[in-house]
């Protein structure tokens, strides 16, 4: 783990996409995501970064180097626009140093103030250590989608569904 200095959160730029691709290409990180190859990662990164046009993607930077990215999948459908799913990723070497907490706290602030959200929700695969962070920040489980993910070795992972009222 590197020492986190001068941690700042800013709106993401399209040029941050390469960091997202790099982090997701690490098998240790990718195991917690539904993608499994280069083409799928490219597709997911494209979708994730497309939310920059709504100013709904943020990047954590440490000494001017991106170390984490999070986004709100803000909803265009009117009946769903009061709530949003979010996703987050922190570079492996910056884990356990408060980057994830800082990113989620900023998403909560943006959700409330900029997007007038009332509800924030997430999906996390069983066994992912990030689940503890979500619980600490007040997210509550509302369901478990059993065997949602099946890795290439045939192992299943449950998907935990969590949400927080803002």
């Amino acid at each position: 783990m590197v020492q986190v200095r001068n941690l700042k959160i800013r709106l993401s730029e399209q040029s941050d996409a390469k960091y997202l691709t790099k982090w997701l290409s690490d098998p240790e990180i990718l195991r917690w995501f539904p993608m499994c190859n280069e083409a799928e990662i490219e597709d997911a990164v494209k979708i994730w970064m497309s939310y920059t046009k709504y100013k709904a993607v943020i990047t954590a930077v440490c000494d001017n180097v991106p170390c984490g990215i999070a986004n709100l999948y803000v909803q265009s459908l009117k009946k769903l626009s009061h709530q949003s799913l979010f996703a987050i990723i922190v570079a492996k070497e910056y884990r356990g140093a408060g980057v994830g907490t800082a990113l989620i706290k900023e998403l909560i602030r943006m959700g409330k103030e900029d997007f007038k959200l009332e509800l924030l929700h997430l999906e996390v695969y069983e066994g992912n250590p990030a689940q503890r962070l979500y619980e600490r920040l007040g997210f509550k489980e509302y369901g478990v989608h059993k065997k949602f993910l099946k890795d290439l070795d045939g192992r299943y992972y449950n998907k935990i569904l969590m949400q927080k009222k803002l």
Partner: protein
């Protein structure tokens, strides 16, 4: 009516029926899209799954009366299951068409696409719920306040799945 029901693969031209049904407020209240633009975009996305032959259309006397669709997953780690949506024209309800459509959709998923499970999302009080219960679907999540009807009214989203093995 049931003896006249024919089930075929959905064709792109069935779009006009789907669009008409989804624009009807009685149906629309059970779906997440609401404005005419949202409905049109969602119906287009829905009917496009007919290209993969993962969508079935019910026909009675040459009239389209129901559509049920498997929304196949885009990523390899997820292709063992998928979400489905179904709609029956309200003029044809309560004649067993929904049951027959669902039975055929399950058969399509299980035997043709070799899926291990299918799941769906409905909103609380949806008329789909008794049908899902009849087919022994399992409720695995209830997300309160998922849909906002107006400033004081919300509906929960309820998720159901069924496993074939």
């Amino acid at each position: 009516m049931m003896d006249k029901l024919d089930i075929r693969y959905t064709e792109l031209k069935d779009f006009e029926y789907l669009l008409t049904w989804l624009n009807d407020p009685d149906n629309n209240k059970w779906f997440p899209f609401s404005t005419s633009q949202e409905i049109e975009e969602s119906a287009k996305n829905w009917i496009n799954f007919s290209r993969y032959k993962s969508s079935l259309t019910g026909v009675v006397d040459n009239k389209v009366c129901a559509i049920g669709t498997l929304f196949l997953m885009p990523y390899r780690k997820l292709i063992h299951h998928c979400m489905f949506y179904m709609i029956v024209d309200k003029k044809y309800r309560n004649h067993g068409i929904g049951s027959t459509m669902l039975k055929n959709l399950i058969n399509l998923g299980q035997n043709y696409f070799k899926l291990e499970s299918i799941f769906t999302e409905v909103f609380e009080n949806s008329p789909m719920i008794p049908l899902l219960e009849k087919f022994k679907f399992n409720q695995f999540a209830k997300q309160e306040n998922f849909i906002k009807i107006d400033d004081n009214h919300y509906l929960a989203r309820i998720l159901f799945d069924i496993w074939f093995k």
